[in-house]
């Protein structure tokens, strides 16, 4: 039985509930704007940075943020200089970062069991300051979404017509990518570098199955991220596993149930 009085459980629950806000709001844009691969990559590329931060005693958030920013710059340069598509550039950097992280962790610093924590997250390692940082990011995500949601919607729906609508597609999209990167970085402690998409993509993808209204997609994504996050804390504590894998299992099951329900509903209602 989960010990709700334990400070690490309380911190983990608050962390998951706070993470649900940016994960649901930005996750909706990630799914609608087809940025899931970017979101996955921006988490994974932080792995070598986290290994170095652990070995050198640097705050992991700084190392992960530096890695994410480096990833963004390198991706843009690869696309411009070598005419690579965004997917190809992302794939190249992702593989390179993962390989560098494995070499650093296994051969250079012999990080051992710490690697599991970096890749898949840990509830025990969450500190009070982690929770405060997540609260700030959640508030920033709400503000950004309120201010730029129309730009993200208009640009995503009709990229060619966005400027004519008075929108600023390039600047707004850069801020969206930066917001995703920052959210991925703050989620690393809880869910790990490899499983950031479990939080940023799966709840929003599930919500998208359930409704055709944008406002409902976003609300449902936040609700699902919160519910799945709380359930993941319970499962992770019960099975003594990382929160990332627990969240992945729960998110996957919920998505599968939603997909089956949607298919059955579509079959029951003839077109």
């Amino acid at each position: 039985m989960i010990d709700l009085g334990a400070p690490y459980i309380q911190r983990a629950l608050v962390e998951m509930l706070l993470l649900a806000v940016p994960a649901g709001l930005l996750g909706s844009w990630i799914v609608l704007r087809r940025l899931a691969f970017f979101a996955h990559a921006v988490g994974t590329v932080s792995f070598p940075g986290l290994v170095l931060a652990s070995a050198w005693g640097i705050a992991p958030q700084f190392a992960a943020l530096a890695a994410a920013l480096g990833f963004g710059v390198a991706q843009e340069r690869l696309q411009r200089a070598y005419r690579l598509g965004a997917d190809a550039a992302t794939g190249l950097l992702l593989v390179g970062a993962l390989a560098a992280g494995v070499v650093l962790a296994s051969d250079v610093y012999e990080s051992g069991s710490e690697v599991d924590t970096l890749l898949f997250g840990s509830l025990i390692g969450l500190s009070e300051s982690d929770v405060w940082v997540t609260a700030v990011v959640a508030a920033a995500a709400v503000a950004l979404d309120a201010g730029l949601g129309r730009h993200w919607l208009g640009t995503g729906f009709d990229p060619g017509g966005a400027r004519a609508l008075g929108l600023r597609p390039v600047a707004a999209d850069r801020l969206l990518l930066a917001a995703i990167a920052v959210t991925a970085v703050v989620a690393l402690d809880a869910v790990g570098a490899l499983l950031v998409t479990v939080l940023l993509v799966v709840p929003a993808a599930t919500a998208r199955l359930l409704t055709e209204r944008l406002a409902r997609v976003r609300l449902a994504a936040v609700g699902l991220a919160a519910g799945e996050g709380v359930a993941a804390v319970w499962l992770a504590d019960w099975l003594n596993v990382g929160a990332g894998p627990a969240l992945a299992v729960i998110g996957g099951v919920v998505f599968a149930v939603a997909a089956c329900a949607t298919a059955l509903r579509a079959r029951a209602v003839p077109a």
């Binding site: 129309r150 919607l153 208009g154 400027r163 004519a164 609508l165 929108l167 944008l214």
Partner: protein, 248 residues
Amino acid sequence: MIGGLAVRDLAGGYAPGRDALRDVTFAAGPGEIVGVLGPNGGGKTTLLRALLGELPVRRGEVELPGRPAYVPQTERARLDFPVSAFDVALMGAYARTPWFRRVARRDRDAARAALARVGLADEERTSFGALSGGQRQRVLIARALLQDAPALLLDEPLSGVDGVSAARIEALFAELRAEGRTLLVATHDVRQASEWDRVLCLHGRQIDYGRPAAVLSPETLRETYGAELIVLEGGGRAVGVGHHGHAH
């Protein structure tokens, strides 16, 4: 409402050192409909993008009476977005809505009125992706109406639309012309363009511009369309092009 736009010696393109479009010079007054004719890749969409400020312009000048409204080809819009016809129409009010405010009630009412004007009042809550091609085109026109722009740039608004939608759109063009707005309409339909005020023929450059009766000769159309052209001769006038006609 005063429209009118002028383009002088325009040339530009995306690839370095190569113009996608050049030597374009024309002026359209308020209340005029200009049909922009040309083959695929001839520069119709490129011209519209230049007028929107999205094409790197190397030479020439563009004079517009304000920010023009743009109606893209429907297939350029994402059909899988969870937006209703009303949501899409409302995008026309984004430019005048401060980032920290909701879209104003009067603009929400105006979006409903714009949908009613294009004959889609009953489809307000329908998902954009669930509408027919012609209905989607009308929703995008409703979005442009909400922008209340003096000039409208429309990219093949009548291609592939159903007869009801085509009739609605053509009637709306007449209303907008009467309001003094300038319409620049890219089209493949020569017959239709012949009924408008001016015709601009493009094939990487400007072939001709002027009144339809003066411009739409078989020679000009051959130069505009090259091998893509099938001209049906009737009383010395070109009356049809065998390419992308719209469905009636």
